[in-house]
Amino acid sequence: MMRFPLARLLGVAVGVAVVWGCSEVLAPGVRRFDGPTGQVIDPRCCPLGAGSGCGCPSTIFGSSNGGGDTAGVAIYVEQALICPTDLGRSGGAPNHPNGGPWPDTVVVWVAVDSGGEGGHLPNRTVTLTLEVADSSGTGTDAPYGHMHTGASGFAKSTGTLSQATVNTGPGGIAVISYRASGLSGPITIRAQSSSPVIPNAVTFAVGVPGLTILAPGTNFDTIGSLTIHPLNIAVVPEMIPALGALADSFQARFGRKLEYNDASLPLGGKFDLRRQWWNDDPGCVFTRGNGTVVPIPPGCHQVHRAGKDIDLRTKVFNGTTFVRDFTSAESTLVVTVWQELTQHRVGVEGDHFHLYYH
């Protein structure tokens, strides 16, 4: 599996402190949050690597900027990694260590903290904004496999906050939620209150944890790596033995290797084949058997979001020269053996087979 240096992972550390304005007088008797701050997250290590150095905190995550005699915004999220939305047709989210599917929504706590021994200041208004990293994979978005910006000016989806402006009320804490979009990538929530309170931000990951990049095997090759999506074959680890066994059966019968194509991106989410992020693309269509051409919303690759779908080339090439399609016997063997190995089906997606693992 290909690894990126930790330094590139959400490298802009959580808890961006910006000194902004003058200090504010502390109110006696109020206290600050306790909790972890400034951790670097490698979502590919979660959940199995949680606590093993990958930095995948299972407790609340964020920071408070109140310090000294200066008040600042405190912002925390319930966990450092959530899944993209709309994984259902791709087999769903993996299980969360606390039980149930890994959520696509996270609780966000917001407060304005005094410095020193102080705590939450009541009735403060805080404005929240969302920010996505979209640097063609050269920054904190590198691990997610989108080495591109949006085609045709399409903007990367940010997901949604339940409220964009909150008041901390008499208790001094506002509780809202954030729901991811269908895309994977780092998300930053920026929070600011009226001057001179120091603003703050929390950055966390949206992605499907636990996927593994499929390496070529004895009897299969991996294809389809493109500049915009170089790591195109991330799968759930338990799928890999079945992919090998299918290729072994095919080799034994027909004396040729299989070629596996797109599965999921390294951290799952929408596999935007044509760099259109989450948007509809008039170029993404397919033709029904009766000749009707219909669009594929939202864009190509309907599924492929959770590492439980993989494409299989059914065209035989001699180098780069197309030779023929799979024979009927070759097609049938793939379908029946895949069923036997996994109890899942095979579909047709465009001009190739689609192996379901869900």
Partner: protein, 332 residues
């Protein structure tokens, strides 16, 4: 490399909008037993498999649940036309996968397939899967096992392991249950024949010879016993007969007086016979088992000695079979 597929090849048997049901379920396949051969505790079952002309899909696979794992799976030549598997999702099955589209298309000639397993015939769940693949872009079917969602569920004759501690009697009870199931499945279409077959099994002892004779009489073209019922019931009856001890002929049991109060029982049956005895006008009773006759033809024998000098009566299964008076000879 083309990353966007704009065409869908009919070559793959894509399920179009005109399909009546889920992909893989639009076919009707007859799976009938065509023969059964037993060797000790293993049995080879052969099937005739026919995809009816009205089917919309060719056969992808026939899968038979196998509580007794297959020892051998056999398909017609050439082997390149078949993919055989003994497991599905890690559980034992008998699976004949049809490679290519040259056989078992709708209306094409039937194929004979078979398998060998240890046990006795039973009724198994089977799954008939047609070759039609869902189009991913329009696939709204629930995820799940293709044997459930993309197959037609049928009942077929299979092989069960022999029940632990089985006896001829317990297998006869099982056979009557199979008879009932075969009638419910309309593998036997005559209600009166179902009742008659039941009565043969309930008789003491069960009349398996007549049971088989009635099956054979009605197993004709257009008759009330189809191939599945015939082979299922006959093969089980044959097996019970094969493990049942031969019947006892009481005429081959002889009681004679020897001397004193001593009597001798001789048995020319090929099985040992349990007997009981008592004395006339007395309270003495007892039981003995007379051995079977020897391989050389010598009768098995046993002596009975009474306390009192009285006439001896001998019983088999509670029925009096011999009475011999004490001959008043001196003790021997």
């Amino acid at each position: 490399m083309s990353k966007i597929g704009l065409t869908v090849s009919l070559f793959y048997g894509v399920s179009g909008l005109s399909a009546q049901g889920a992909p893989g379920t639009n076919l009707t396949v007859d799976v009938s037993v065509s023969g059964v051969a037993r060797s000790q505790d293993t049995v080879v079952v052969s099937y005739s498999v026919f995809n009816q002309g009205a089917s919309a899909e060719r056969l992808l696979a026939l899968t038979l649940e196998a509580p007794s794992p297959p020892i051998q799976i056999i398909a017609p030549l050439p082997g390149s036309s078949w993919h055989l598997a003994s497991q599905y999702g890690g559980r034992p099955v008998v699976r004949w996968g049809v490679l290519g589209d040259s056989i078992l298309r709708p209306g094409f000639p039937a194929q004979t397939v078979s398998f060998k397993a240890s046990g006795v015939l039973g009724i198994a769940d089977a799954h008939v899967s047609g070759f039609a693949l869902p189009v991913v872009e329009e696939d709204t079917l629930p995820s799940g096992d293709p044997l459930v969602f993309n197959s037609v569920q049928i009942k077929a004759v299979g092989v069960d392991p022999l029940p632990p501690g089985y006896t001829a009697a317990s297998l006869t009870t099982r056979l009557d249950s199979l008879r009932s199931d075969a009638c419910s499945l309309t593998w036997v279409t005559s209600a009166s024949l179902c009742n008659t077959l039941h009565s043969y099994l309930m008789a003491q002892p069960a009349n398996l010879t007549q049971f088989n004779a009635d099956l054979a009489t009605n197993h004709t073209t257009g008759g009330s016993v189809n191939d599945n019922a015939y082979w299922l019931l006959k093969a089980n009856a044959d097996y019970i007969i094969s493990i049942s001890p031969p019947p006892v002929n009481t005429a081959l049991i002889n009681l004679s007086y020897v001397c004193g109060n001593k009597f001798k029982v001789r048995n020319l049956n090929t099985v040992a016979v349990p007997l009981t005895w008592n004395v006339v006008n007395g309270s003495e009773t007892g039981s003995v088992t007379v051995p079977a006759k020897s391989q050389g033809g010598e009768p098995g024998s046993v002596f009975i000695t009474t306390i009192e000098k009285r006439t001896l009566r001998l019983y088999y299964n509670g029925q009096l079979i011999a009475t011999v008076a004490n001959g008043n000879k001196p003790p021997c």
